[in-house]
């Protein structure tokens, strides 16, 4: 029994009955991968029982019999294929009982899908994030790696996972190819999910729904997210181009450590209707001189939740006192609870940004956040509300 996962509830994934194009990345590679996966030769490792199942289909009943008598719950008994955000076709067991999840953006979705009990190991960086404030159960999951870049393969193998979910080499902070290859050689299917745009976010949620067998909840989450974002985008239409504000995002130890033009494939500030003044700098984060910030002269400054200074520090910084944003006191720090980028909470972050950029649109980001937290995390939102 074998099936290829095809996202269904989104028009953008299907151009025709046989052609699947993802809305992001190099779609030609992705289609190529998908096409090659639909050929009779299967992309499974030679020692993988599933490939033998296909090639010796006549022996299927015998193998099923063997599988049933040897171990009733063997995960190799059934296999299906999914396509991750790097366009790789990955064969995964039909039922996932033990997953190792190294990416914080995915663990949240798994929690919302009610499948956190099936996560066997996570990375320290997930524990260290604000997620634990509203998903305390995360603290009970064994930590098996410091971060995606530092994993001990033996510790992963010791957990006997059915699947490993992480960010891949196409992401600046993702896992390297060598480690992925070694994990796969050890028989662990590796699903790479890089969430750098809204579409990748929706796709990964849908995929998680399929992997953990809760498509209904996944669809509910996506439709709620799309509802919030659609609402905001509708309101943003009232802002014409001449009124668009100039925004700068800062972080680190000093306020001249800024985010450049590369912040995922979609810039949340641009989504919230602003111009990113630093878009010419094709870097994730970098240091610029205060004179450069003076040249940009942003109208609003947003600060990362992890920055070592507060909005008040920036407003009182003599280097910046002449900047528009500081003069008008339009400097805001991300609330930790909704920070992070393309997580299921991205609509909340977008609502927060839009509310700060265009107060005249009267977007009640705290109300939206309250509702979202109650509905999907089962807890109240306790972060700042101003």
């Amino acid at each position: 029994m074998k099936s290829t996962y095809r996202p269904t509830n989104s028009k953008m994934f299907t151009n025709g009955p046989d052609e699947h194009v993802l809305p992001f990345g190099d779609s030609s590679t992705i289609s190529r991968n998908i096409k090659s996966a639909s050929q009779p030769t299967v992309n499974c490792e030679p020692d993988d029982l599933s490939s033998y199942l296909l090639q010796f289909y006549k022996l299927i009943p015998f193998f099923i019999f063997l599988a049933v008598i040897s171990s009733a719950g063997s995960s190799y008994a059934k296999c299906r294929e999914i396509i991750d955000t790097e366009g790789r076709t990955v064969a995964i067991p039909e039922n996932i009982h033990r997953a190792v999840v190294l990416s914080g953006t995915c663990i949240e979705t798994i929690y919302i899908l009610g499948s956190l009990d099936r996560v066997a190991g996570i990375s320290r960086s997930i524990i260290d994030s604000a997620l634990c404030n509203f998903i305390p159960a995360l603290k009970k999951i064994p930590v098996i790696a410091q971060s995606i870049r530092n994993i001990n393969i033996e510790r992963v193998l010791a957990l006997k996972p059915d699947i490993l979910v992480t960010m891949g080499p196409e992401h600046p902070l993702g896992m390297d190819r060598k480690t992925i290859k070694r994990l796969e050689e050890c028989g662990i299917p590796v699903v790479l999910l890089n969430l750098e745009s809204l579409d990748e976010n929706y796709y990964s949620i849908e995929l998680m729904g399929t992997i953990f067998g809760n498509e209904r909840r996944a669809a509910e989450l996506i439709s709620h997210m799309k509802g919030i974002i659609g609402d905001i985008q509708g309101k943003l239409k009232k802002i014409d181009d001449t009124r668009r504000i100039k925004a700068l995002y800062i972080s680190g130890a000093r306020p001249n450590y800024i985010a450049g033009g590369y912040w995922g494939k979609q810039d949340i500030r641009v989504l919230a209707g602003a111009h990113n003044v630093a878009k010419e700098i094709k870097l994730f984060m970098t240091t610029v001189s205060f004179e450069q910030i003076s040249i940009w002269n942003p109208d609003v400054i947003t600060i990362s939740a992890s920055a070592k200074y507060t909005a008040a520090d920036v407003i009182n910084d003599p280097h910046l006192r002449h900047i528009n944003a500081v003069r008008q006191k339009r400097v805001y720090k991300h609330p930790r609870e909704i920070a992070g980028l393309f997580t299921p909470r991205v609509p909340l972050l977008l609502a927060w940004h839009t509310a700060k950029f265009y107060p005249e649109l009267m977007i009640d980001w705290a109300g939206i956040t309250d509702k979202f937290f109650k509905k999907f995390y089962g807890v109240l939102y306790h972060g700042p509300r101003d």
């Binding site: 530092n150 902070l173 680190g252 130890a253 700098i281 970098t286 001189s289 003599p318 002449h322």
Partner: protein, 335 residues
């Protein structure tokens, strides 16, 4: 070198900071013409507050940066000249006693783990001083501190703090890691009057103190036995000189991060130009170091957009330049 030429060279070395200080005011990505700058200074003097942006760029961004670069260059070079004379070893730089490793450890601790409670500057300063105390404690045997045991203890301290630093880096979040790496490269990009008020008093007082003791460096550089013969308590003198130089260095790097090569290179260049009399080497190193540091910072400051940490530039340019000097002086620089 003829007496007059030497006098001119010495004058140029002493006057260099002033020259670069004036030219640096006109350098920066935000274009300000000389006329505008003169106008701004004039307005500042008669207190007529106009054109907030230009005022801020000149007085809150450019000037503190220029002054901090001068102070840092002066601190690193003067303390290095002092270390090299005390240790009677030209390979010694301001980091020999473990100051840089200690400061880096303190800064890492603050950036990666402690959050907002303890500022980076304070932790880096404390780390640098703690490292030197450790080195000195290890090297002091039966009330005496041999130069060799100080160097060895310095190497051990360096290793201990570098190891600690690696552990912190390993466990740091990617974003914090980046901040940490940028700090370790040293930069004046966020220089402020507050930074100057932290480090300035230590640097100025320390350098003046070293200047007053400059002739004793000549005695110490002859060796412990000879210095004792002149009636100098070498043990006490070493503590005073190394303690002051440490304080000066730690004050500088705790604010700007670690900037390599300036400290090692400047006393060498000065000695090549004016000979090895510490009475002149120390002040000339202080002024020329300040000028060189400022020049290096001007180079990175001119760039629009992304700014390279100045420590990267001093290392990239400094190392080959040093090699060139050695070749040119036919190894004389080692003597």
């Amino acid at each position: 070198m003829a007496r007059e030429t030497k006098g001119i060279v010495l004058f140029l070395l002493y006057a260099s900071p002033l020259f670069f200080c004036i030219t640096s005011v006109f350098v920066g990505p935000y274009s300000l013409t000389p006329a505008e700058i003169v106008d701004l200074i004039g307005k500042r003097i008669i207190c007529s507050g106009q054109s907030v942006t230009e005022q801020a760029i000149l007085f809150d961004i450019r000037l503190p940066r220029i002054i901090l670069a001068l102070l840092t260059g002066c601190a690193l070079s003067a303390s290095s000249a002092c270390f090299q004379a005390t240790f009677r070893n030209p390979l010694v730089s301001e980091y020999i006693l473990g100051i840089s490793a200690g400061a880096a450890f303190g800064a890492s601790l603050s950036i990666a783990t402690l959050g907002d409670e303890l500022p980076v500057q304070l932790m880096a300063f404390a780390g640098g001083i703690a490292a030197v105390l450790l080195t000195y404690g290890m090297a002091r045997i039966r009330g005496e501190t041999q130069t060799l045991s100080l160097v060895l203890a310095g190497i051990i301290t360096n290793a201990i703090f570098t190891g600690g630093n690696y552990i912190i880096r390993y466990f740091a979040e990617p974003e914090q890691l980046h901040v940490l790496i940028v700090w370790l490269m040293g930069s004046f990009s966020a220089a402020s009057w507050k930074d100057i008020s932290y480090s300035g008093p230590f640097i100025i007082a320390g350098t003046v103190f070293l200047y007053l003791l400059r002739w004793r460096l000549n005695l110490l550089s002859m060796g412990d036995e000879e210095a004792k013969a002149f009636g100098i308590n070498t043990e006490k003198m070493k503590i005073v000189l190394l303690g002051t130089a440490t304080l000066v260095t730690a004050a500088a790097i705790s604010v700007v991060g670690i900037i390599g090569w300036i400290g090692l290179m400047v006393p060498h260049i000065v000695r090549l130009l004016i000979g090895s009399d510490n009475r002149r080497v120390l002040p000339a190193s202080a002024t020329f170091g300040a000028a060189l540091m400022l020049m290096a910072d001007d180079a990175v400051r001119m760039a629009k957009g992304v700014e390279l940490p100045v420590g990267v530039l001093t290392t990239i340019i400094g190392a080959p330049f040093f090699a060139y000097l050695i070749r040119k002086s036919r190894g004389g620089v080692w003597e």
